[in-house]
């Protein structure tokens, strides 16, 4: 009986430069080393049914990455966790394995928002930015140049900013993410800096995507919690 599981894991310093495809391959190979019976697609070029959620920009770390994995047999989630923990490389920490209820939305489709922490490289900027933050958020519209399918266009990004608040040394941001609307953390920061009449080198900042969230009955839940989980 095929079974679907959702994995939650981190992506830390040693692996922060791995791309989306690299991570897929890493998980596939780890599953093999853990002797997990991966399920495969049909057709001419079968591939393992293992899918990653929203791609992370290169260089960013993450406290909550998600992947859906289908196995050809039912194995207790706790055992999958143990077996994978033994084989995952440094920098990828498996936090949870959740057996999914049938026919839940895919790990890519179900995302609605993401939480980021951003640390600035030096001291002066946080103060400038924190001072201007309330006024920035009080605006009804915030125009920024955003990449559309074909080119760059001025778009209103205010609806995609759910929350920004200062933290020691930086900011915490809750931004739209997922297939319908999404806002890059770098773009949100850029817009804020323009408003605060300052500038920050994105490449010198440290940004971590803490978690990904889905929406269930109006509340935000991590992607593997709520009515997607078999035990619910």
């Amino acid at each position: 009986m095929p079974e679907k599981y959702r994995l939650r894991f981190t992506k830390e310093e040693p692996v922060r430069f791995l791309g989306h495809l690299d991570m897929m391959r890493l998980l596939q190979r780890s599953a093999r080393r853990a002797r997990l019976p991966l399920a495969y697609s049909e057709g001419f070029n079968p591939h393992p049914l293992l899918f990653l959620s929203a791609p992370l920009p290169l260089g960013m770390t993450s406290g909550g990455e998600y992947a859906d994995m289908e196995l050809s047999e039912t194995i207790p989630a706790g055992e999958i966790l143990e077996r994978l923990l033994a084989v995952l490389p440094e920098g990828v920490r498996l936090l949870a394995v959740t057996r999914l209820r049938p026919r839940v939305a895919s790990v890519m489709a179900d995302v609605s928002s993401a939480r980021y922490t951003l640390l600035f490289p030096n001291e002066t900027v946080p103060e400038l930015v924190a001072a201007r933050l309330p006024a920035f958020l009080a605006q009804e519209t915030i125009l920024a140049e955003k990449k559309t399918k074909r080119n760059l266009a001025m778009t209103d990004i205010r609806p995609d900013i759910w929350e920004i608040r200062p933290v020691p040394g930086g900011l915490e941001m809750l931004l739209a993410a997922g297939p319908e609307r999404s806002l890059k953390a770098s773009l949100a920061l850029a817009a804020l800096c323009v408003f605060a009449e300052t500038s920050v080198d994105w490449n010198a900042c440290r940004c971590c995507r803490e978690n990904l969230y889905r929406r269930q009955d109006g509340i935000l839940l991590p992607l593997d919690e709520g009515n997607v989980a078999e035990e619910f």
Partner: protein
């Protein structure tokens, strides 16, 4: 422990920053301060190329199995990272611990191809290590080189302290034990290098002098130390089936060129194709047993989780247990959805059938290497492949559903005529015709043939080592002659790198006087020479001029059989007498049977191992 830190802004700005991150699956982690011997294994090219090298995988685990040794890896940083490092005075560092190379006891380079020499110099320079061996002192690591190009070590003789000649599994333990013992007894680096003279397989250039005739040819290569051997013989594993093989492998986290479980089925080659250096320098032919290989496959699969297993050798179809091994691997791994990759196969009924059975195989192109366009020229180079075999192989492939064929040829082979060049066209067109012999229903798509011609480079330890290479202009003319001859639209003809091949022709048969030219080329900015974005032929020509070296002397000059060659003090087993006999047979277009059909007394029997033993058992006598 010193640790090099690359700033975030740099990592975020360079291409593929993961090249510099390490932390691969099965990376060895030791405390460098606890290791008595620190060995930096340097691959003089970029990460993706180096991580595809089987030798690195074997030696990495071989050396690290010693408790007293920590072997770490170093790859050449790409241009953008190098610029950032130089701007910030960041030295070249190892992947495992981020240690600068100057902290190591040994900095060892593997020389897989001649055009990596400027990268060797560049990596030394990036480490703050003096390039010339006589400019280095007690505190500098021992600079060591191994790999295929070490068999003609002379072009790098000025820069390298010691060359390891042969297979790594044989002598590295003795080498490191000697080093440890010397260090513990308070011996210096200079004393260590001297003590090496007693070990088989090591060439220490400082103990040899080279003198020259007026006309530039070498007069003599003479030891200047009583313990230095006149001829240094390579070392080869005796029982290949039982020799060391790692039970795990480094699994890269990014895409590299070859990324799969790799099984070495045998070493050496029975064929004796006259242009092929590898076939001669890796003799004698020694196989592994199928059971051993299956066990290795299991272990490597468990440790890696790879999706593909590859069998490598110089000619996998010649592996005597090939059907048995292929069968066992398919049975065991097919259900795990692990594919088999089989490069270097002869195209015959067996292999076509096997390709069908390999699960998940997309019909990619089938590859043949006729090398020459006429039977006469194939006989000259001793490439045992008839036109009928090629055509019937293609027929089988087409019937089996393949519609793409790739053909490898060489131009500039000895005794080549226009007829031979046009023979490439004729052969290729016959293959197209063969396809159209199929009934229409079996031909759903047009056939696509790619004929690829590379430029012949005469190599040391082959029967053609005395031949003159064609000039770049001549290569170009020959390629154009072939190209003009093609009329069928199904055929794509490509040739490439005439200038790079010419440089390879200089380096391959170079002597110590090239050292200065290599240095000047590097100084003028040459590095990553086999990458088109970095290759500067004009700078090389300028470097030769400035060094007072005539590249044509090395590449385009025909030598007499009695000339002293720059590698005459190195022995790979195969004798010069044999090579001369083969060169004469080539001139008469006479083929030589392969090692299973008959022993041609090449000299490899002196190693008393592998296939040669079967001739001893048959009482073949010893003419070598």
């Amino acid at each position: 422990m010193n640790q090099v830190k690359i700033p975030d802004e740099v990592l975020m700005a360079v291409t593929k920053p993961a090249r510099y991150a390490g932390h691969e699956i099965n990376m060895v982690k030791k405390d460098p301060d606890e290791a008595e011997i620190r060995f930096a294994f340097c691959f003089p090219d970029v990460y993706e190329i180096g991580m595809s090298n089987l030798g690195l995988q074997i030696l990495y685990y071989f050396l690290n199995r010693r408790e007293d040794t920590y072997c770490e890896r170093v790859f050449a940083p790409w241009g953008d990272m190098e610029d950032a490092m130089r701007a910030r005075q960041i030295p070249l560092f190892s992947l495992e611990t981020g240690s600068p190379l100057r902290d190591f006891d040994f900095v060892g380079f593997t020389l897989q191809y001649e055009m990596c020499y400027t990268n060797v110099l560049n990596m030394l320079d990036l480490s703050g290590i003096a390039l010339r061996r006589w400019e280095r002192n007690e505190d500098d690591p021992v600079i060591l080189c191994g790999g295929t190009c070490a068999y003609n070590p002379e072009p790098l003789a000025d820069f390298v302290d010691v060359f390891y000649l042969g297979e790594g599994e044989v002598q590295y333990d003795a080498f490191l034990d000697l080093y440890k013992e010397n260090k513990r007894s308070g011996g210096s680096k200079a004393q260590f290098l001297e003590k090496l003279l007693a070990l088989d397989g090591f060439y220490v250039p400082q103990f040899y002098d080279v003198t020259y005739h007026e006309d530039g040819r070498i007069a003599a290569i003479t030891p200047n130390h009583p313990a230095a051997r006149a001829v240094i013989q390579k070392v080869a594993v005796s029982d290949f089936d039982r020799s060391f093989f790692p039970d795990k492998q480094l699994v890269p986290l990014i895409d590299v060129v070859h990324d799969r479980v790799t099984l070495e089925v045998f070493r050496g080659c029975i064929r004796g194709c006259r242009f092929c250096q590898a076939g001669f320098v890796y003799r004698p032919v020694r196989e592994r047993n199928a059971e051993t290989l299956v066990k290795q496959a299991e272990s490597l699969y468990d440790a890696s989780g790879h999706e593909e297993i590859s069998l490598v050798s110089l000619s996998t179809s010649d592996y005597t247990q090939f059907p048995v091994l292929a069968d066992k691997l398919m049975c065991e791994f097919a259900e795990k959805r692990v594919g088999l990759s089989l490069p270097s196969l002869r195209i015959d009924a067996f292999s076509v059938d096997l390709m069908h059975r390999i699960q998940g195989v997309r019909k990619s192109a089938l590859t043949f290497a006729p090398e020459a366009g006429t039977q006469r020229l194939r006989d000259v180079i001793n490439k045992n492949l008839t036109e009928e075999e090629i055509l019937s192989g293609c027929r089988l492939a087409f019937e089996g559903g393949w519609d793409r064929v790739k053909l490898y040829f060489m131009i500039g082979l000895p005794t080549e005529t226009d007829e031979d060049l046009l023979g490439i066209r004729d052969l290729t067109e016959k293959i197209v015709d063969e396809y159209y012999q199929l009934p229409k229903e079996q031909r759903s798509r047009p056939v696509s043939i790619t004929a690829s011609a590379s430029c012949f480079v005469p190599k040391p330890f082959t029967p053609f080592q005395w031949d003159a290479q064609e000039t770049p202009e001549s290569f170009g003319e020959r390629a154009r002659l072939i190209k003009r001859g093609f009329h069928k639209k199904q055929i794509r003809f490509q040739y490439h790198e005439t200038q790079l091949s010419s440089l390879e022709g200089v380096m391959a048969r170079g002597d110590r006087r090239l050292g200065q030219a290599i240095y000047l080329a590097w100084k003028s900015g040459c590095k990553f020479d086999s990458w088109s974005e970095y290759f500067h032929y004009d700078r090389w020509l300028a470097a030769f001029r400035e060094a007072g070296v005539d590249p044509a002397f090395y590449a385009n000059r025909k030598r007499e059989f009695d000339e002293v060659l720059p590698w005459d003090h190195i022995s790979v087993g195969v004798t010069k007498d044999f090579l001369i006999r083969e060169r004469k047979r080539a001139a008469a277009a006479l083929t030589t049977p392969n090692c299973r059909q008959e022993c041609s007394h090449c000299g490899a029997r002196r190693f008393n191992s592998g296939l040669c033993r079967q001739w001893d058992a048959k009482g073949g006598g010893d003419h070598a």
